[in-house]
């Protein structure tokens, strides 16, 4: 019996020594880190030109006036996007004794860069440019075309134009 107790003790000691003589202990634990990215868009709208157009001769009334590169828009985003444009009111606000109250928003139009398509302004939002996600940013220019003709009285007319950037 004594012998057995001694041999069990020896085995324990051997086990303990073995566990302490192992080359290296190693213990681990983990955590999780999360990065959440929702769709993000940002833009810069730069007005390169005056927003006042003076009609001072017959040619301008006949052919209209174009302000090239009226606005430059730069868009950055991690998701596809679109830019819309709309007038805030269906008609210009008019001032001056001879001014007409019925000059519509659509005497103004927009074109993008050198593309011939003209988007006539209205209170209905119109998509004028789209793009893919871009780290460096996508830049484009808007040209403004005003063609009132001879239909409206002399005066000062103004209208608010809204640009909207949204994810597609």
């Amino acid at each position: 019996m004594k012998k057995k107790i001694i041999s069990i003790c020896l085995l324990f000691i051997a086990g303990f020594s073995f566990s302490n003589c192992l080359a290296q202990y190693s213990f681990n634990n983990t955590i999780n880190a999360t990065v959440t990215i929702p769709p993000v868009l940002s833009w810069n709208v730069t007005y390169n030109n005056t927003s006042t157009i003076n009609f001072s001769n017959a040619t301008q009334y006949t052919n209209g006036v174009t302000l090239s590169n009226f606005t430059t828009i730069q868009v950055k985003g991690n998701t596809p996007w679109m830019v819309n444009v709309a007038a805030s009111t269906p008609y210009f606000s008019a001032s001056g004794t001879g001014a007409s109250a019925n000059m519509p928003a659509n005497i103004l139009g927009f074109s993008v860069d050198n593309i011939a398509t003209i988007y006539r302004l209205s209170t209905v939002s119109q998509k004028i440019q789209t793009g893919a996600s871009s780290a460096t940013g996508t830049s484009f220019n808007l040209n403004l075309i005003a063609t009132p003709g001879y239909n409206y009285g002399a005066g000062i007319y103004s209208i608010v134009i809204n640009y909207t950037l949204t994810a597609q």
Binding site: I8, G15, S26, F27, N32, A33, V35, P38, V40, N78
Partner: protein, 164 residues
């Protein structure tokens, strides 16, 4: 009644099992030797253009508690795995850690920013056996920009303590 020879073998087997158990507990994480990582705030939410374009820091993002009664220790960090909802995962190197605060008496460490990778990088060295050392780390995310699609990206960060 079992034959005497069978009883002998059963006793032998039990003794061997006890010894194995002893050895096993010598190696496992236990009250005297452990590394505990606690996530305090480890979620980056990049919902603005500014947060995408600038470095983001989560202060005191996680805490490491280390007890090493067997002797000196070294602690390492690495990104063990990543998971993302988009095809292009954010690389581990976009993450970094930096020591914010600590409570230890016999230890050495760097206070510099340590970019993470998928291989072990040493964070801390405990020069003597110690009980209850604590280290508080900031988690830093480099500017992500607009290169990564909207979604959720998860990193499992592994901490290892070794006792040489």
């Amino acid at each position: 009644m079992l034959p005497i020879k069978t009883k002998y073998y059963i006793r032998k087997l039990l003794t061997t099992c006890l010894c194995c158990l002893f050895i096993y507990y010598g190696k496992a994480q236990n009250g005297s030797n452990y590394i505990s990582a606690t996530a305090n705030t480890t979620n980056f939410n990049l919902s603005t253009a500014n947060s995408l374009e600038t470095e983001q820091t989560l202060s005191n993002a996680f805490t490491l508690d280390i007890t090493s009664m067997n002797g000196p220790y070294s602690a390492y960090i690495r990104v063990f795995s990543t998971n993302s909802s988009s095809a292009t995962p954010i690389p581990a190197s976009m993450l970094a850690v930096q020591l914010n605060n600590y409570r230890c008496t016999r230890c050495s460490f760097t206070t510099a920013k340590i970019p993470l990778s998928q291989t072990d990088q040493q964070l801390i060295q405990g020069t003597k056996k110690s009980s209850g050392d604590s280290y508080y780390y900031d988690l830093i995310l480099a500017p992500i920009g607009y290169n990564y699609a909207p979604g959720t990206y998860t990193f499992t960060i592994l901490f290892t303590m070794t006792q040489p």
